[in-house]
């Protein structure tokens, strides 16, 4: 990264982060309040209203859900946000020469940073309210989140470029993401499914990081082979995404 590009990236990121709660009274406090209130709602609805249970002893359903939901959001939100990373910045792309990937990078980074902060807040809250978490599993959690982040940037490049050519992508991607949400063991546990279905679900490289984040936090054994396959898939997607962006670069301005 050339020095000028680094400061351009910083400016873009600063704005992405700053605009979230611009004009709101509580401002940055929302980063803290939002995850907490979400967690509160989840635990009320699932633990008290629906009386949902997990097969792990002493683990509330809300805590179970939270461990899968925030990592998933980290991935899904950044992909969903970056659909408009290029189309939404057409005013910049058409007028000044800046590397297009910076626009996507800034969107994804901002989204990841916010959800990461949210996840940290939620984990702390869970521990405060008595959920026992295995802190020695944190490096694995971090690795899984990194895999999600790499997936996110790869898919972000792809959807951002495709959306320049076909604006349908924006509408389609939210549907695809919600389908993927239900196909991933976020609201349910992989072990609850019949073995054949488990194998089928594990073909989705997004599944293993979710499963392993939970396992790491609960002190259960880590499924390294599948996690490594996911990591490889993530890197592959990122390379493909970047290659697509590079190939499309000379044409983007013509279609914006």
């Amino acid at each position: 990264m050339k020095p000028a590009y680094r400061s351009v990236f910083r400016e873009l990121l600063r704005r992405e982060l700053g605009e979230r709660y611009r004009g709101s009274f509580l401002g940055v406090l929302w980063h803290l309040l939002l995850p907490l209130s979400q967690l509160l709602v989840m635990s009320w609805v699932f633990s008290h209203l629906l009386q949902a249970r997990t097969q792990y002893q002493d683990l509330s359903y809300a805590a179970f859900l939270a461990m899968g939901l925030w990592p998933w959001n980290l991935f899904a939100n950044s992909v969903a946000n970056s659909v408009v990373a290029l189309t939404g910045n057409s005013a910049l792309i058409g007028k000044i020469a800046l590397p297009h990937h910076l626009l996507v990078d800034a969107k994804v980074s901002a989204s990841i940073l916010l959800d990461l902060a949210g996840f940290v807040v939620v984990l702390i809250a869970l521990m405060v309210f008595g959920t026992v978490l295995e802190l020695s599993g944190l490096p694995v959690v971090f690795l899984c989140l990194l895999i999600f982040a790499i997936f996110a940037i790869g898919f972000a490049y792809i959807v951002a470029v495709l959306n320049v050519f076909l604006r349908d992508v924006g509408a389609a991607i939210s549907q695809i993401l919600s389908l993927l949400f239900f196909l991933s063991p976020i609201m349910y546990d992989l072990a609850q499914l019949p073995p054949r279905l488990q194998k089928l679900l594990l073909l989705n490289p997004l599944v293993s990081p979710i499963v392993n984040i939970r396992h790491a936090l609960l002190g259960l054994p880590i499924d390294w082979p599948n996690l490594m396959i996911s990591a490889a898939a993530a890197i592959l997607v990122a390379i493909m995404g970047y290659a697509l962006l590079r190939r499309a670069r000379p044409h983007l301005e013509d279609y914006l």
Binding site: S7, R15, F165, R247
Partner: protein
């Protein structure tokens, strides 16, 4: 420092045709397969030129001639379809009205972003921010999103950033036409100063006046090709002549009603020369014009005579009817007026002398003749005319 700042060689640009949604889809497929889009229009073809440091080049041409596309290719916003653009050093660009501002960002945020792009560090920016605010002079709007700006304010801010950065090459596209009078003057003065102190300028403008004022060379683009390139006055004159020819061609389509004028102009003799070519006369010397008019019903016609500057700004016009001067009768249906401008007060430059024949009441205008008059001479005064004055 003899290396060119910009070197454009065999540059071509084609835009894809995107008339309907299936075009976008096939364009996507073409892009994925690494082919050029099948349906396209050519905007620029085979353009080559160099911009040396210290040059000031104006780019002129009709709407759609490819001027803006050329600038975008040079700044690197667009990628050429063929050929290449080599640039050295930072380029300050004010393309069209946006100036590279994000509509949702505030003025200040846009300044920060532009500064980052020009490689200005935070500490430098702190001192420059005040300078930019002062130059832009848009008050509290600096903290509003730029989408709330008037087009003039956008240009003010964009120009203020350029003025603070002072890049080795400045590219502007029709920018001067947007600001108000005082800001235009401020910009013109800044550009003048910038060019004189060794800055390099690429300017697109429809105003040949601006181009002549600010540039030493010009490139005339016509339908995506370089029609002419060279000294600014030669190129702009050919360009204007071409426009006139085009206009008169269009006018010919209309039926000629006044095949023979009720009140016609038979001859115009200026300073003894009766041709219609450009005439050079001397600043401060007498200018004499003799016009022979015809009148079909033998009633004495009125003569209207006027001066206009090269860009058609009227300077002075007077008619025989205003001055209550009768013509000299030369014979049946023929009259002559002789008008003298003693010690011609027009400052050196290019003007048009316009001669019109009117009916005897001075209300209806019939024939018009125009001749280019170049006033030669030396004067350090500003403006158009020498005003009689004295110092006390």
């Amino acid at each position: 420092m003899t290396e060119a700042l910009v070197e454009v060689s065999h540059l071509s640009k084609r835009y894809p045709v995107l008339a309907n949604s299936s075009d976008r889809f096939s364009a996507l497929c073409d892009m994925l397969r690494g082919r050029a889009p099948t349906r396209h229009t050519t905007v620029l073809s085979d353009i080559s030129f160099k911009v040396m440091p210290g040059c000031s080049i104006g780019i002129i041409g009709e709407n759609g001639a490819g001027k803006s596309t050329l600038l975008k290719l040079i700044t690197g916003v667009l990628t050429p379809s063929e050929g290449q653009v080599k640039t050295r050093g930072a380029i300050g660009a004010l393309l069209e009205l946006g100036a590279g501002f994000h509509p949702e960002y505030s003025g200040r945020e846009n300044i920060r972003l532009s500064a980052a792009l020009y490689g200005i560090t935070d500490t430098e920016l702190k001192t420059k921010m005040a300078e930019i605010e002062e130059f832009a002079d848009i008050g509290h709007y600096i903290d509003e999103p730029t989408k709330h700006y008037s087009s003039g304010m956008v240009v003010r801010l964009g120009f203020a950033i350029i003025a603070a950065v002072r890049p080795p090459l400045l590219i502007t596209d029709e920018v001067l036409g947007v600001g108000d009078e005082s800001f235009q003057k401020k910009c013109s003065r800044w550009i003048d100063d910038y060019v004189n102190s060794g800055g390099t300028l690429l300017l697109v403008s429809h105003s040949t006046y601006h181009v002549q004022k600010l540039c030493r060379e010009a490139i005339w683009l016509h339908e995506g090709k370089v029609e002419m390139q060279g000294d600014v006055f030669t190129v702009t004159q050919h360009y204007l002549a071409w426009h006139e020819a085009k206009q008169s061609k269009q006018e010919k389509i209309a039926p000629v009603i006044h095949a023979e004028y009720e009140y016609g102009i038979e001859s115009v003799v200026s300073n003894g020369s009766d041709s219609r070519d450009e005439l050079t006369c001397q600043f401060g010397e007498d200018f004499r014009i003799e016009v022979c008019l015809t009148s079909r019903d033998d009633s004495p016609p009125v003569l209207l005579c006027g001066w206009a500057r090269g860009d058609e700004t009227p300077v002075y016009g007077v008619s025989s009817e205003m001055d209550r001067v009768p013509p000299e009768k030369l014979g049946p249906c023929r009259y002559r007026y002789t008008l003298v401008f003693p010690k011609l007060g027009l400052l050196p430059g290019k003007y048009f002398m316009k001669v019109h024949s009117l009916d005897s009441t001075g209300l209806r205008l019939y024939e018009t003749r125009q001749r280019t008059i170049v006033v030669a001479g030396e004067s350090r005064a500003y403006g158009l005319v020498l005003m009689p004055h004295h110092w006390e």
